[in-house]
Point group: C2
Chain length 317, copies 2
């Protein structure tokens, strides 16, 4: 069984998986181009970040049966072709929750603790204690897209004494939110929120979901954070809301077009903080995703259907 990877993990991870699975014939490459014919002619199992496959690749990969995507984002995967060829896809959904929730809480704490002003004053060697220091405690956090990641953000929000509301597709309960609503009721809950954090994936349903009316419904003191996908809101809609100061600040980790081009107004706007789509990045990323891969490789070998994070082609995630 040829297992081809377009991810070249550190040596210790490679050695571990090779040792644990003598059934596997592992080939690790740095990128799909480097894998080349090994991928097209031999790979039964393919390990990827999910950003390097085309429809054509899927059709050309004659022996491919299972793709392990070491990521949660499925938007660059040729799902239709995989479905047609009956290829199993599993992903690393769930491993993002710790780094992303830490990123979200760190961003919110940086906001209330005036970190940007403090850094300016430090640079100027100015001792100024009269900053409007606030707290997360008692504030209302609204999470748009409460699944594994949103639930972890909710849990941490509760640890900080926040009031946590959530929105998800179905309005199904989450143990960490105080209140949960279906997406259809989003506009009604927006006026209560001090922090609005979106972790929604990109699906036909979530694309351009946030409109002008949603920003108009937010508090002028509200903070909007997007660590899900950039196409949640059209760039021009978001830009206009920020130019009109309909909200206080936007923390944007994702954008309609990535990388965000140099010169884009978001880079320099006072009420926007730009980060380069890295909320889920962590040194623990590959070790955690290899744990899921190893579980699924056991499953694949035993053929016992006990896969973690198998993709449902109908839902698209």
């Amino acid at each position: 069984m040829k297992i081809v990877s377009s991810i070249l993990p550190p040596e210790e991870l490679r050695e571990e998986v090779i040792r644990d699975f003598p059934e596997g014939d592992f080939l690790f490459f740095d990128g799909i181009e480097a894998a080349g014919e090994s991928f097209y002619n031999d790979a039964e199992v393919f390990i990827t970040y999910g950003e390097d496959l085309t429809e054509e690749d899927i059709h050309k990969a004659t022996k491919l049966k299972w793709i392990m995507v070491m990521s949660a984002g499925m938007d660059e995967m040729p799902l239709k072709a995989c479905k047609e060829k009956g290829i199993l896809i599993t992903n690393a959904r769930g491993i993002h929750k710790i780094p992303m929730a830490e990123f979200a809480l760190g961003t919110m704490l940086g906001h209330v603790k005036q970190r940007a002003l403090l850094a300016e004053n430090e640079k100027a060697e100015v001792w100024n204690r009269n900053l409007p220091m606030e707290e997360l405690h008692g504030k209302t956090l609204l999470i748009i897209g409460v699944g594994a990641i949103g639930g972890e953000i909710a849990r941490l929000g509760k640890c900080f004494g926040m009031k946590v509301a959530g929105v998800n597709r179905s309005g199904r309960e989450n143990m960490w939110t105080d209140r949960i609503f279906p997406l259809s009721q989003l506009t009604g809950i927006l006026p209560e929120a001090d922090f609005i954090v979106s972790v929604l994936p990109s699906t036909p349903e979530t694309k351009h979901l946030l409109k002008e009316k949603h920003f108009a419904a937010m508090k002028s003191s509200a903070v909007f954070m997007n660590i899900g996908r950039g196409d949640l809101v059209e760039g021009k809609v978001l830009l206009s809301a920020l130019e009109k100061h309909q909200i206080s600040h936007a923390y944007l980790d994702v954008f309609e077009n990535e990388p965000l081009p140099e010169g884009h107004p978001f880079w320099s706007m006072e009420n926007v903080t730009v980060t380069p789509h890295l909320s889920s990045r962590t040194k623990n990323y590959l070790p955690r995703s290899f744990e899921i891969f190893k579980h699924n490789l056991h499953t694949y070998i035993k053929n016992n259907k006990d896969y973690m994070n198998a993709i449902d082609f109908e839902r698209g995630y």
Copy 2:
């Protein structure tokens, strides 16, 4: 009963306390100079931040029986004179725990999430996703001085999946720390810590407690944060440890001499972040401390000894 305050709180707080206590004759001033003779001749109760009283003031204040310090720091209070004159002191100990714990966690999250680098890149409009993003999860946090504030930092550390060790005077248990040690065992536990946070007050026992050997015992990757009092470590000892890169970074909110003078090396060192003694600052500060004052004023009027945060002159806090 004349109640004199050198703190001028917002009108709504003043009106509330005046309404709740018709027995009190309240006089609010902006600073002790403004209070003047009202303090010396009339005040039975005095409300202060605890930074404006001299020994002489205490001896001159003929009717003074109780001082409510709207702070937790007692280092600028003329305790000896108060003890001699049998003046009750209560303080606002405990209200710092929420803002300080949020400040501490926000600082640690800013560190692991590379906020300084991200801000630099944003300024230069550089999209660089290859930053060494880390997590609090799984890291070891050592809290020096586990009382109300340290306990709250410990609780939040546990929420983030950190291993939390603590040190306090007695080694008495705290429900949020995994392990706790007496101060005498500090050196032995230091090599394990990824984050070392001191919230110790200034007492004869804690002054210059941290020596060269302590920094030598820390991991070179360790982060040291002081949000307690600046005299925990001599400036030159700390400077030397940082110049020698014995630790990775110091986040300093307190200093031997405050304000930290312009031109001090700490302001511009790459591995030091300076903030101007404001970890406990919060918009919720006065409302919370007035809750304690009101509780204690009920106690004072009923004379039922049920004071919150009465100062023990032997311990000094």
